[in-house]
């Protein structure tokens, strides 16, 4: 099966240095064949350890997204020429096979939720990225109390579940871009939509990051960019 046949979409959330892609994992046929085609031996061993079938599909889908971007921008000629590793805090980073021409991707982020898996890649060495996919659902309404410390200004009014899904997606994407985990996503932030779909996120520590989002088939996809890479553990070592 050619790697290029997987239906990965490029999303208009990036810029000349940041790429974002999305895959509907429910349309990913022949999962095991896809794993064999896209994953290195070590990645396949990790894939085999995942017990939940849905989790296996999402996990694979996010890696297919990222590796398809690398194939398209010619960072690799085969998806097994690079490996997606994780640091001690669970943040992904890319390891390339020796002997490849100049690196075109320095940082990456993965996300999956329900039907969709997404990946984001940065082509600048000092720019960290975070991507998050959230489903717009009433589930968020139960958690409204967890957002009372946040301040958000959006361009148009949105139903409460969409507003909360957007806020959480922005906070999660930000947490990934600064290298934090769930604890970072729980921090209070101020989100200001500076243009339609474009945001400025400021946290209590004063760090100000930019983000973008779009709504696609009932899901929010948010991307956050950390230009200074101030808090990213991978800044000098991993990427």
């Amino acid at each position: 099966m050619p790697a290029e046949t997987v239906d990965v979409m490029t999303l208009p959330l990036g810029d000349e240095h940041v790429e974002v892609s999305l895959l509907d994992v429910t349309r990913m046929a022949e999962t095991d064949a896809t794993a064999t085609r896209f994953l290195t031996l070590r990645e396949r061993a990790e894939y085999a350890r995942l017990r939940h079938p849905g989790r296996r599909r999402e996990w694979l889908g996010a890696r297919v997204c990222l590796k398809t971007m690398l194939l398209r921008n010619r960072s690799v000629s085969d998806p097994t020429e690079c490996e997606i590793m994780k640091d001690a805090r669970g943040r992904p980073w890319l390891s390339f096979a020796p002997g490849l021409p100049g690196r075109k991707v320095y940082d990456c982020s993965l996300s999956h939720k329900g039907r969709f898996a997404s990946a984001c890649a940065s082509a600048m060495a000092d720019r960290a990225v975070g991507v998050d996919v959230e489903e717009i659902s009433p589930r968020l309404l139960r958690l409204a109390g967890a957002f009372v410390g946040d301040r958000a200004t959006f361009f148009r009014s949105r139903p409460p579940e969409e507003r909360l899904a957007l806020l959480w997606a922005l906070k999660e994407a930000r947490a990934k871009a600064v290298g934090g985990g769930i604890g970072t996503a729980m921090q209070s932030v101020t989100c200001e939509e500076t243009a339609v779909g474009r945001h400025r996120i400021t946290a209590g520590d004063g760090l100000q990051l930019r983000a973008r989002h779009l709504v696609y088939e009932g899901y929010i996809i948010a991307v956050c960019v950390n230009d200074k890479r101030r808090d990213c553990d991978n800044a000098k070592t991993a990427c």
């Binding site: 017990r51 989790r55 109390g145 967890a146 604890g183």
Partner: protein
């Protein structure tokens, strides 16, 4: 107000967490143990932690700010059910003083 949970209360909380995860993630209760990883093994997501915390805050009438819990989780990352139970014990026992012993006040970074 800081309090000390009895072993029976801790056991009850642990079982409540297992039941919550079983119900929310549609996983058999017997598949959930101390070392089970919530995201990798149960297909949970980051929001499930938020839901768990909010659930226990309501159940035990604890007023700790979510941002304070977030700072605590930055220092004590959780992956497994057992680690999550430990965090819930700490939240209920220490309340707003969650980070005081670690050199941080409830109001912000030290």
């Amino acid at each position: 107000m800081p309090r000390q949970l009895a072993d029976t209360e801790k056991k009850e909380i642990y079982e409540h967490i297992r039941q919550f995860l079983s119900d929310e993630l549609d996983v058999p209760l017997d598949d959930i143990g101390q070392d089970t990883k919530i995201i990798e093994d149960l297909k949970g997501d980051s929001m499930i932690y938020l839901e768990l915390v909010e659930n226990f805050k309501k159940k035990y009438d604890v007023k700790v700010e979510i941002a304070l819990i977030g700072r605590y989780l930055q220092k004590h990352p959780v992956y497994t059910v057992g680690q999550t139970a430990k965090v819930v014990y700490d939240i209920l026992e220490r309340g707003d003083s969650l980070l005081t012993a670690e050199g941080e006040s409830a109001g912000g970074h030290a």
